[in-house]
Subunit: 113 residues, 2 copies
């Protein structure tokens, strides 16, 4: 069984941002550059290995940039590229829909109780 | 390791529409109601079992409605609910970003060759 149409914009976007921690990483970097440690503390339950891998993928896709800051010890800062900021903005309506969906769900569970 | 913040709108939306064929199903139903067979033909490489399961999940999430049409043989028609149309609209900016990303990728591969 082959895959969904990889030229369909939504599928392309999901391939970039659809996996587990990426929406949260994007949302945090949308508020400003972060060091790795800060990102990890703010996200919470993500392992170092998984966070590093997802950041590498976001860099590969041109959405996040990585900048080494001079000095010792070495500090690395992650931030959104222009392309990344455009993605962050494109996710905003979806976030609003998700918030509305949460209300639909909580309304439904209130009716059921 | 626990899961991303399930109260974050984007994560909620991805939980509803983020799996394999759902963006394509939503995109097709956004163009109008479809019978199961027509959906399957238009999507192409999806199995009957997977398509039926994804439609059930979209119904459970209040995004798709299912209507049985009187007559023999029984016909069933799927369409977007109002909540589903709102999700379809919220995905449009992401689709545009995905189209732009495809150009970034094809530009990059042209440079590399």
């Amino acid at each position: 069984m082959s895959d969904p149409d990889e030229t369909c914009g939504v599928n392309v976007a999901f391939a970039v941002v659809g996996s587990k921690w990426k929406p949260t990483i994007l949302w945090l970097l949308g508020q400003g550059p972060r060091r790795f440690g800060a990102l990890r503390r703010e996200i919470g339950p993500v392992s170092e290995k998984v966070l590093a891998a997802q950041l590498r993928e976001l860099q590969r896709d041109g959405v996040v940039s990585r900048r080494e800051q001079p000095g010792f010890p070495l500090h690395v800062e992650y931030s959104l590229t222009e392309h990344g900021r455009a993605l962050d903005a494109a996710l905003a309506p979806l976030a609003d829909w998700g918030d509305a969906h949460l209300e639909v769900l909580s309304g439904a569970s209130a009716d059921a109780s």
